[in-house]
């Protein structure tokens, strides 16, 4: 009956933590910095330099909407994973560290219910962070660059509204990627009572995965890495949409979420709480 109340309490706890608010603020500042830097360095529209080699960057000068894609792909490397890792790694380990975990279970919150609420809030926080990036980048992009019909990566031009709809899907795709990462973080978090340890472990995992993904000799492992499909959201920016890549990405996220979610559940419902 009052699972909503527990969820709301958990969300308040996470969102009102000064540390987490700071993280969200930092997340919001990055697209601004990127936008301003690119505005200052941008080749004149008539110059047509395009030497950066990155598809998004070439489009930016013509349309501010592309700042969102640039910001998301840049922040996906490290900033967004850190934001999610902090909240996910802290989720159970933090409670264990404070000792509040034993009292929550004695309330009784219910072990499965507690885990579900924790994961729900991790996903909500990831959603907030991702949408903040998109929203700030969109606003900054509109302020710094011209805005109009969106020319996609495949060369097709769609209306601004259609472009924004694609931006919404891109943001949701990135949220799904971060939700999968959050499940891994939740699982790690059930193994320790040191939140910092859980957060660091998750970040090492992310960086390791990204490094392996960039070693040509380990190419075969790529599709199975947790970070491999994160940037595949550019599939949404083509006509026709590259659905097979997109679905493989979403499948990868779902598999990781289910796998590590199950692990977290199995561990958390069977382990003694000794903190």
């Amino acid at each position: 009956m009052s699972a909503g109340r527990f969820y709301a309490s958990e969300l308040r706890l996470v969102l009102l933590r000064r540390r987490n608010l700071l993280l969200l603020a930092v997340t919001a500042v990055f697209p601004l910095i990127i936008g301003i830097a690119l505005r200052l360095a941008a080749p004149r529209p008539e110059g047509g330099d395009g030497g950066t080699g990155l598809a998004f960057f070439n489009q930016l000068a013509g349309n501010g909407v592309f700042l969102t894609f640039i910001a998301l792909s840049t922040l996906l490397v490290l900033v967004l994973p850190v934001v999610v890792a902090v909240v996910a790694g802290d989720s159970v380990a933090g409670e264990a560290g404070y000792g509040t975990l034993r009292y929550l279970l004695a309330v009784p919150a219910g072990r499965t219910r507690l885990l579900a609420v924790k994961y729900g809030v991790i996903v909500t926080f990831a959603l907030c962070a991702t949408f903040i990036v998109s929203a700030v980048a969109l606003a900054a992009g509109a302020a710094l660059f011209p805005v109009g019909p969106v020319t996609l990566l495949s060369g097709t031009t769609v209306s601004l509204a259609a472009g924004l709809l694609r931006l919404l899907f891109v943001t949701l795709y990135v949220t799904a990627a971060m939700a999968a990462l959050g499940a891994i973080g939740l699982a790690i978090s059930t193994l320790t009572e040191h939140a910092i340890g859980a957060i660091a472990t998750l970040m090492i995992l992310v960086v390791t995965s990204e490094v392996i993904d960039n070693v040509p000799q380990l190419h075969a492992a790529g599709p199975y890495l947790p970070t491999h499909w994160w940037l595949s959201f550019d599939s949404l920016l083509r006509v026709p949409v590259d659905t097979s890549t997109l679905l493989r990405g979403l499948l990868s996220f779902a598999v990781y979420a289910v796998l590590f979610g199950s692990f977290a559940w199995a561990r958390f419902t069977s382990a003694d709480v000794t903190s």
Partner: protein
């Protein structure tokens, strides 16, 4: 129905250490049960199993007739608890901390939450500090907030693990008064302690743990009865007196020379376990045997002596 009952409850840690060894607790409804034992004797591990935080290696436990840990979500809201010290979010105020725990309780009525939190804080005397961050609470305030969390709802059973740990005498008195008050409302109280003095004044029943085993369980009068009364004779001739006592068939006759004690001649004497003998008879026999009796007494052991006897030398009676 009992408030708490366990049967063969056992916990072996992964390292192989036997923390709790086949204990059979029976805590009557309405009792104030003192769960005594030295630090490390398995009290907290037992409480963790009772609350479903730790899983038993073997044996069963039930709270208010509901088996644990399977019934955790159906019975624990009727049980208030304080386990191994208070634990709250340091960045939240006292009242917000209670609201957090209340929100986690699916059976708690959100409409009455504010009133219940205020009442619980009032009961432990923390109403004035309701808006203060937990971080800034004193040790005694933290302890009382933990008890307040246990009182957020009407409870049938309160489990308190070392509720006065780290408190000054004033704080200890306050907590003791609170426990009395809770018990007076008809709530069963299960309170663990390594201090005899702490529970002696408030408990109706005691259970005594020693290295994972429950070595005694019963009411306080029952515990007193387990102690053997001794006859003690003051005399200038302890050896002879001890011989007479042995001759009368009394066990464990001991002579105490004046030099053994603080060089006080009046303390010299002999003592033995009285057993079934009548003290009048013993005294008469002593006199008849020509012992100069200066003083004669039947001494019951203090509770403290009994505890030391049950728990061994390691028992920290003085605190």
């Amino acid at each position: 129905m009992t408030a708490i009952s366990t049967s063969g409850l056992t916990k072996r840690f992964r390292g192989g250490q036997l923390a709790v060894d086949h204990i059979d607790l029976a805590v009557p409804l309405g009792s104030v049960y003192g769960f005594l034992g030295p630090n490390g004797s398995g009290k907290t591990t037992t409480i963790r199993m009772l609350l479903g935080l730790a899983y038993p290696t073997s044996g069963t436990a039930s709270l208010l007739g509901v088996p644990m840990p399977d019934g955790a979500t159906t019975v624990l809201h009727r049980v208030g608890s304080l386990v191994e010290g208070p634990a709250f979010y340091p960045f939240l105020a006292g009242a917000d901390n209670l609201a957090r725990y209340d929100a986690a309780d699916r059976t708690a009525d959100p409409a009455t939450a504010r009133a219940r939190i205020t009442e619980a804080l009032d009961r432990v005397g923390l109403l004035a500090a309701a808006k203060k961050r937990y971080r800034h609470y004193s040790l005694g305030m933290k302890q009382r907030l933990a008890i307040a969390a246990g009182l957020l709802r009407p409870r049938e059973l309160i489990i308190l693990d070392e509720p006065t740990n780290g408190l000054d005498p004033q704080g200890t008195r306050e907590v003791r008064a609170l426990i009395r008050q809770i018990a007076a409302d008809g709530t069963t109280v299960f309170v663990s302690s390594h201090l005899l003095a702490e529970v002696e004044q408030i408990c109706t029943h005691v259970g005594v743990m020693r290295t994972g085993k429950l070595v005694f369980q019963g009411s306080l009068p029952e515990l007193r009865r387990t102690g053997a009364s001794r006859v003690s004779v003051q005399t200038a001739d302890p050896e002879a007196a001890a011989k007479v006592l042995t001759g009368l068939g009394l066990a464990d006759a001991q002579a105490t020379e004046a030099s053994d004690v603080q060089a006080d001649d009046a303390q010299a004497g002999a003592s033995a376990i009285l057993g079934d003998a009548s003290p009048e008879q013993v005294c008469a026999e002593l006199v008849q045997a020509g012992i100069g009796v200066r003083g004669f007494a039947v001494v019951s052991p203090s509770l403290e002596d009994l505890f030391v006897g049950l728990t061994g030398e390691g028992f920290d009676v003085s605190g």
